[in-house]
Structure formats: structure tokens, C-alpha cells
């Protein structure tokens, strides 16, 4: 067990034992240095890998649970992603290596911890209903109305080709609308948070398309301001909002 699996750095140096709550039921405990500590369990010097995706999923869930518990206990933490391991040196002393790393990086870690005091990460995903937006675009655009009339009037082959043209124009307009909404919402949301990260959008789910996927860092008690802004967006029938959190600030470490 020549390495230490790292869950997070916490603000505080009380020696805490989290019991056998770690991955593979390992004992989770703290290694303190000055006024902060590393939350770890003892592990072999190889990363946790498995072909079994269910197993990996359960490891990740365990990791997140330990980080949550540390967050509850210490209030301010720097969470690390799954599978962050500090290996021991050639004499086999991992604990020393952890302390050495904490010592060398102390200033940077301390600064980051201070940055995160009282803050949390929230996830904002905004989806749009393509058909509703398409409909309102079609109703408001004279060129499109003209095309629709031609489609009704023409013979089968012509109608088909005009339909294809309509599809292209509609898609282009929708892209422009989506971009407008994206920029509008982004600016409004940005005003209510301290830091914001634009994440990749995920594939569409049941008729909804993801317009934006944001990770937001803000003061925990300011979450209602963000919530209020999202409520306004939620009330528009074209949009669906998923607001999650508070999470430990994984995306901002």
C-alpha cells in the first residue's frame, strides 16, 4: 500500500477518521500540514482501472460521497477528480511524499482554499424545444411563409425540393436564434455568479436540444439570485432548465 489516493484538500488540520467509507472499503483519513489537510486512503501505486463500467461507476460514486462528507465536515475544500494518486518514493514512504507536496504547494493550495470559502459549484443546463422555436420562426418570417405557400401549390417533385430548401432555411434561422438566446442568457447568468465555465453540450434527449451547459461558481447564499434569473428563462415555453447543486467546486480547482 505504497501510495495515497487523494480525495480532496480541506481547510483545517483536525485529524479526522472517516472510517471505512473509501473505495473498496478503505479507511479514509486526513494527513494534516499547517492549517490544511489531505483526505486520503492507502492504496497500491497503480491507478484504479477496470473493464467493468459498473464497477468504475460505483468507484466514482464512492469518491464523490467521500468528497461530500469532507465538504460537510470542513466547509471549504479543493476536490480532486477520480483516480488522483500520490505514489511513495523509493523508500516506500507515501505519507512523506504527501506532506512534501503539501509543503511545496502550500501557498497555491491555501490561496485556492481561501478563494472557495463559502462558495459552491452549480450546474446550469438550458434546453430548447426545437419545434416550438421552429414554429415561431416560421410564423414570423415572410420568406418562409412564401415557401410554405409554394409547397402547397406545386407538384410533388417540386414540392419535395422546396421542402428541402425550407428545411435548410429553417435550420439556419434556428441556429441564429439559438446563438442569440445563448448570448443573452449567458450575459444574464454571468451577472449573478462569480465564475462561469462553458462546458460541452450533450446529445439531445427526448425532443429537447441542449442550448448551453454551464458550471457556475458562486457564494452559496447567492444561489437564489441565479435561481431567480433561471426562473425567468424557465417561464418561457421554448425552454427547459436543469439547475443542479450545490456541488464541491470540482470544475474550478
Amino acid at each position: 500500500m505504497n501510495a495515497r489516493y487523494l480525495y480532496c484538500i480541506v481547510d483545517g488540520n483536525k485529524a479526522i477518521n472517516f472510517g471505512r467509507t473509501g473505495i473498496d472499503n478503505k479507511k479514509v483519513y486526513t494527513i494534516p500540514f499547517k492549517d490544511l489537510s489531505a483526505v486520503v486512503h492507502d492504496c497500491p501505486s497503480a491507478p484504479y482501472k477496470s473493464e467493468d463500467s459498473e464497477k468504475v461507476k460505483s468507484w466514482i460514486i464512492t469518491h464523490e460521497k467521500v468528497v461530500e462528507a469532507a465538504w460537510k465536515k470542513f466547509g471549504t475544500i479543493l476536490p480532486f477528480g477520480f483516480d488522483t494518486i500520490i505514489i511513495g518514493d523509493k523508500n516506500g514512504n507515501a505519507e512523506k511524499n504527501v506532506k512534501r507536496w503539501l509543503k511545496n504547494d502550500y501557498k497555491r493550495l491555501r490561496l485556492k482554499l481561501d478563494k472557495f470559502k463559502g462558495k459552491a459549484e452549480f450546474g446550469v443546463q438550458i434546453f430548447l424545444h426545437p419545434e416550438i422555436i421552429a414554429k415561431s420562426i416560421a410564423e414570423g418570417d415572410p420568406e418562409i411563409k412564401k415557401l410554405e405557400a409554394e409547397i402547397r401549390a406545386k407538384s410533388r417533385g417540386f414540392a419535395y425540393m422546396y421542402k428541402q430548401k425550407l428545411g435548410i432555411i429553417l435550420r439556419k434561422q434556428m441556429e441564429l436564434e439559438a446563438e442569440k438566446y445563448f448570448n443573452d442568457f449567458y450575459e444574464k447568468i454571468k451577472k449573478t455568479v462569480i465564475e462561469i465555465k462553458v462546458e460541452k453540450t450533450k446529445k439531445p434527449e427526448e425532443g429537447k436540444q441542449m442550448l448551453m451547459n454551464l458550471s457556475c461558481l458562486l457564494l452559496r447564499d447567492k444561489a437564489k439570485d441565479l435561481g431567480a434569473e433561471l426562473e425567468k428563462i424557465k417561464n418561457k415555453k421554448e425552454f427547459f432548465v436543469r439547475f443542479t447543486g450545490p456541488w464541491p467546486p470540482y470544475s474550478f480547482v
Binding site: 467493468d52 407538384s155 410533388r156 417533385g157 417540386f158 419535395y160 425540393m161 428541402q164 430548401k165
Partner: protein
Amino acid sequence: MSIDINEANLKCGLLGLVIALVEIIRDALKHQALRRIEGDTLTDEEIERLGMALEEIDMAIEQIKKEQGISESVKSIRNGLDDIVDDLLDRIANPQRWVENRAEEQA
């Protein structure tokens, strides 16, 4: 994750891939047809014939997907292909990030 290969799902996967490619080629044909029409190089009769032929192709593809039960399969193959192209373009646009990702994968 073990992959369970049997004759049925191999055929399904292969057919799905074939139809996905047929759809992509069909989309290119539609695109070309529209350009010809807008370029004013076709007679009305030719446009009518072209439109009807493309519509027949659409209907035939939909029927095959329905009969073989591969609509979802084709959709996910095309999404997968989209992801691969996205990824490739990302790497071309931002080679530094590609190097970092490779380093992460091998770590």
C-alpha cells in the same frame, strides 16, 4: 465490458452502418440537387423528376429502417460518426490539447 457478438446483432450493426452511409450519401445528393436547381441549370421537368426520385429514396430508406428495426441504431451510428468528426476537427484546431489528452490517457 464484454461485447456479446452473435449473428443477429452483427447483421444489425452492419446493416445499420450501411444505411447510415446511404443516408449520408443521400444528403449529399439532396444538397447537390438544390444547388443545380438554384443554379438554374435544370428544366422544370428535370426538377420534378429529381424531386420525386429523392422522395422515393427517402421513403425507401425509412421503410428499410422500420422493417429491420434499426432506426435507433442508425441514429446512434450517425451521432457516433458526428462525434468522431467533431473530435478530429478539435484536434486539428487545437493540437496542444490533443497532446495533453493523450498524455492523460496514457497516465
